[in-house]
Amino acid sequence: MTASNNNFASSPKALVADDSLTQQLLLSHILEELGYQVTTANNGKEATELFDPEQFDVVFMDIEMPIMDGIEAARMIRKTLVDRFIPIVFITGGDSDKYIDRCADVGDDFIKKPFSANILSVKTRSFLRIKQMYDEQIRQKKEIEKFKAQQDKEHDTAADIYESIVNTGYMQSPNVHSSLSPMSKFNGDILLCAYTPADKLNFLLGDFTGHGITASLASAPAAEIFYGMTAKGYGIREIAEEINLKLKKLLPVNMFLAATLACLDRENHNLSLITCGLPDHFLFCKETGSIETIVSKNLPLGIISSSELNLTEKHHAVSSSQRLILFTDGIIEAENSDGIPFGFEGVKNRLNTSDDSCFDSILSALNTHQGKANQQDDITLVRLTCDFATEKWSLYASNDNPIHIDPSSWKTSATLDFNTLKRFNPVPTLVNSIMEIQGLTPFRESIFLVVTELFINSLDHGVLELDSSLKSTPDGFIQFFDLKQQRLEQLSKGYIKFIFSHEPYKNGGKLTIRIQDSGNGFDTQSMTQSLGKNKQYSGRGLELIRQICDSLEYSNGGRQATTIFTWENN
C-alpha cells in the first residue's frame, strides 16, 4: 500500500487537525499506511500555527474544535496559499453535517466518519494528482513569466541598439520632416539621411518585410552601408547596389527591403530617385498645386544579385517649392471603423496650395480617419522639401582641427578603363586614397568637389561625347541624364586617367590634379566663352573649380585638364 503515492519523490505530508485523540490516531494510522508522513494538531489554532505551504501536501480538518474551529482555521490557511493548491479536506459525520454548506466555501472535499481506508486511499491519490497538475501549471506560469521578462529586456536592449545604429550618422536636415511611430521603427521601417562631402543630401526610406526584431535586425547593415558610403561621397546608385548585395547575402529568401533612395543635389537643382518597391510617392508643387505620382521602378533590395539588379534611376529637375511625400504601406492601409483604408487618395487630397503644412494635415486626417479606438501604431510619413535656400545647406561643413603634417612630395596616378567607368564612380575611392597620403583632410570637401567636377567633365564630354548644350533647359537636362545612362551602359572603349602630384609650397603644399581622357576633345575656347551665358543648368562645375583652385588649364585639344590647388597650414 505504501507504493500508492509513489509519484512523490519523498513521502507526501499530511496535517491532521482533530480535537479527538482517537480520531487523530485512527486517521494518522490509515494515512501512514498509505505512505504519508503525518503531523497532528489538536485544534484549529494549532493547525494554523503548524501549517506551512512548503511542508504539506494535504490538510485534514475536523469541523468542531475548541479554541478555533476547522472552518475558521481553513479560511486562515487558504489565505496563505497565494498561487498554490493544497487540498483542505473536512472531516464530517454526526452533528457536523449541518456545517457542510459553510465548509464548501473554504474546503475542497469531505470524508465521513467512520473512516474507510479504501475511500481515503482513492481520495488522497486523486488530491495528489490534482495538486501535481496545479503545481506543474504554476511552475510553467512562472517559467513563462520569467521568459517574458527576459524577452522584454532583450527587446528593450535590441531597441536601444537599433536606435543607436540607425541614428548614428543620421544628419538632421531642415529639408527632411518625418513622423515615424516607435512601433513602426521596430516593425522594420527605417529613415536614413546624411550629406555627402560635396553637400548633396542622400536619403533612404525603407520598409523591411515581416515584423518585430527580425525585420529591424537587418536595418543595421543597411544603415552602416548608407552612412559609410555617403560620408565617402558615393551616389545613391552605388549605395543601393551595395545594400542590395549585403542584404541578398544576409537575408532569407522571403525577406527583403522595399526602399526609396533619393539624392537632392543643390548644385544642379536635381532630385534623383531610385524607387524599389515602396508605395507611390507624390512630388507636389506648392506653387502650382501639381502632383506627380512617382511609381516604383525597381525590385525591392535583397532579392536578386546586384549584377542582375539593373537599377533604374529617375532624375527630376526641381524647384524650391516642390516637396516629395513618401510613406510606407501602414498609412494607406490604415482602416476606419468601417474597414475602409485611408488609401493614396487620403494622402493626395491633403496636398493643396492653400495649405503649407500638408504634412500635419495628412497626419490629422489620418487620425480622424482611424478614430481613437482604432489607432494603429504603424505610421511612417516623410516630406522631403527641395529647398535650395543657402541656410538649409552646408550644415555639416567640416570644422575638423587641421593636423599639422610636414608637406612632402609624391606622385600617384590611376587609369580607369571603360569597364570601371561603367560600373562605379571612382571619385570617392580616389579622393580617399590621396587623403590617406597627406594631411589634406581639412580640404577634403574642396578636393572632392574638384575631382568630381573634373571627372564628370571628362566622362560626359570626353568619353561619352555628350553635348552640354542639351542641359540648357530642364527637359534637356533630364534627357541628358537619360542619354548618359544609356551611353554608359553601352560603353565599350575609352579611359580616364588621373595624375595627382604634390610638393611642398610655402607654409603648406601644392596639389596638382591632371586628368586625361580618350575622347575627341573640344574647342576649349568656345567652352570658356559659353560659361558666362549659361549658368542655369550646366557649366557651373568649371567655375567652381576656378574658385577653389589657383588655376585650371585645358590642353591637348581639351583632352587634358590641369588644375593646381595650394594649401597652407594654419
Binding site: D207, T209, G210, F256, A258, K297, P300, D329
Partner: protein, 99 residues
C-alpha cells in the same frame, strides 16, 4: 483565408482565398514543402485573394526559390486590381509571369 492546391500532371495550382498575409505562412510553407520533384510549373491563382502584404510577397519568393529561381516556372494569375497594384509596386513582373 485558406490555401488549396491541385495537381494536374506536372502542373500545380495553388489557390489562395481571403487575405494573403503573415497568418498564412505556416500553411503556405507546408504547401511549398509538399511540392514534389515532378512538378514542373506552378500557377498561383489569386482570383479570390483580397489582399497581399509584404510577407506574402516573401512567401512567393520562397516558392520561386523552391522552383529553382526561374521566372517562367511560377505564374501569378487572376489578381484583382488592388492585389495587382501591390505586385506592380514591388515590380514582381521581373520575377514572375503575371497574367
Amino acid at each position: 483565408m485558406s490555401i488549396s492546391s491541385q495537381t494536374t500532371g506536372d502542373k500545380l495550382t495553388i489557390s489562395i482565398s481571403g487575405r494573403f498575409d503573415f497568418d498564412l505562412h505556416r500553411e503556405f510553407r507546408a504547401a511549398i514543402d509538399s511540392i514534389s520533384e515532378s512538378t514542373k510549373h506552378i500557377t498561383v491563382d489569386l482570383r479570390t485573394t483580397e489582399y497581399v502584404d509584404s510577407s506574402a510577397l516573401g512567401m512567393l519568393l520562397m516558392l520561386k526559390s523552391k522552383m529553382g529561381d526561374q521566372k517562367d516556372k511560377v505564374s501569378l494569375i487572376n489578381a484583382k486590381p488592388e492585389v495587382k497594384k501591390i505586385l506592380e509596386i514591388a515590380n514582381f513582373g521581373q520575377l514572375f509571369s503575371l497574367a
